[in-house]
Amino acid sequence: MIDLALKNIFRQKTRTALTITGILIGIGAVVALGSISEGIYTQITEELQFMGGTIMVYSKGSSGMMTGFEGSEITEEDVEEFEDFSGIKEVVPYVMRMGEIEIGQGLTTMTIGVDPKDVDFFKDRGVELESGREIIEGDTYQVLIGYEYAERNGLEVGDSIELKKTSFEVIGIIESTDDDIDNSIIVPIDTMMDVYNMDNYKALFITPEDVSKVDVVAEDLKSSFEDFEFVTSTDIVQQMSTIVDMIRFFTIGISSIAAVVGGLGVMNTMIMSVLERRREIGIMKAIGATNKYVLTQILIESVTISLIGGLIGILIGGLGSYSLRFISAGLATAKVTINLVFGGLLFAVSLGLVGGLYPAWKAAKLDPIEAIRYE
């Protein structure tokens, strides 16, 4: 039946091509726009993976991670207090500085200060070196740089870079992680605080003894320390998912309208096709085609049209989302997920089914005697 369906739909090549284009635009838009919200979601969850099982701490009143913990001050005494708190395994201090926006790149380089003794904490969270060596205790004016930062500036291990008029030696390049670390410079924390004239830490990562109790420990900390914010990945996911859901609703919602219009195109085409083929359908019924056979035949035709449109749409939408990544130089991360691909296909098929149902039903209930008489 598929070979007959293909033969039938390509009888009117222009009309079928236009109908396919309608579906293609709709499904393509769903995939391309949908991939933006998926990209944002993935970016957030990937960043959160870094904090998985830990509690991020910064001063109340600071605006948090997105602005580099501007205004957050945590003293050495605070760190000791946290270390003495029950159920806490490790406290990792952290300083961070957002760099200047580089013109034409739209990218911000972050300078991050970490304690060489905490290197394992970062290694555990998937930060690996592409080349060179890790920062070790005793390092001062030695830095690690992110993969993209190195690429962009043509830097290799052994080269030197300048921060605050101070020269640093690049001792290692971090493997690409597809997140902020790619554009970061990692400096031994003491040197960084010295160079940037910082007296206090910006943030801490607290690891509880029992990682599965991270949310409980965070609650305990919240009730004991009023001057600090304690954020777990669960909190961030909750905050962000509302925003991501809204973006998802708008992108997929609006593009779905385009797809539904494409579905109406399929319906229109199939109605025309059934009208033109009245006589032929009557003949088919006279020589033994059941109503079910005719119905199935027309539905296969309409689903074939929408499926072809859907497949090309997914391809083009995927290419669109991929090129968006290039155009925005990695700032807008679009991600075509398996869910989007299958969702898009399923959407296309259901448009074909729904659009084909009415014309198929019309064709099935055609009276063969009348259709044959009809000239």
Binding site: D3, L4, K7, R11, R279, E280, I283, M284, K285, A286, I287, G288, A289, T290, N291, K292, Y293, P368, I369, I372, E375
Partner: protein
């Protein structure tokens, strides 16, 4: 019981109870045996085409029964009737009713494709049938490239595709000149000799002469037979 088809007390009334009520068939009885070649004669409007459609499971009678191999067919659902048309009935029409976008071969394959045969099986048998009606050279021609006589040969081949119990032909020579008509009649006579049963609605006196049995119908009633 060697009647393959039995028509009992058939009535067909269009628009019953309305001012334009039309009684097309009145108490028609008919028995058809295997291997017969029957000519159904009558003036236009006598109801002969309607009777043919009713026997062919295309048109439900208002009253009465049709038994095909003992089965009371109009007790069946529409889709079950389609299955009987598919397996037991072959239609040949005056207007040929071939599908214009399909080749002769594909047109003959169609009833077999509908019946679920694979493309290969259907094509093999369609080829044999077209060779039998002497169209072996015209397999891949489209209907618009064929003459009237050739078109009617294709439709006879199509009617035989699923080895029907009976071939119902509605004015098969009505659109053909005398010479071509004669060839089609000879083809049908030949097929009848091979065992196919024919019921032919016609005006054509030549068919009437060739038929083994003649049934005359007038004003919806059978006159003789």
């Amino acid at each position: 019981m060697n009647n393959i088809i039995e028509v009992k007390d058939i009535q067909k009334i269009y628009n019953p109870g309305m001012h334009n009520e039309l009684r097309v068939l009145k108490d028609v009885d008919l028995k058809i045996k295997k291997g017969e070649m029957i000519a159904l004669l009558g003036p236009s409007g006598s109801g002969k085409s309607t009777l043919l459609h009713i026997i062919g499971c295309l048109d439900r009678p208002t009253k009465g029964k049709v038994f095909i191999e003992g089965e009371d067919v109009y007790r069946l659902l529409d889709d079950e009737l389609a299955l009987i048309r598919r397996r037991k009935v072959g239609f040949v029409f005056q207007q040929f009713n071939l599908i214009g976008v399909f080749t002769a071969l594909e047109n003959v394959e169609m009833p077999m494709r509908i019946a679920g045969f694979s493309k290969e099986e259907a094509e093999k048998r369609a080829r044999e049938l077209l060779e039998m009606v002497k169209l072996g050279e015209r397999l891949n021609h489209f209907p618009r490239q064929l003459s009237g006589g050739e078109l009617q040969r294709v439709s006879i081949a199509r009617a035989l595709a699923n080895e029907p119990l009976i071939v119902l032909a509605d004015e098969p020579t009505g659109n053909l000149d005398t010479k071509t008509g004669k060839e089609i009649i000879d083809l049908m006579i030949g097929l009848n000799k091979k065992g196919y049963t024919f019921l032919i609605v016609t005006h054509d006196s030549l068919i009437a002469k060739s038929a083994k049995r003649i049934i005359k119908i007038k004003d919806g009633r059978i006159l003789g037979g």
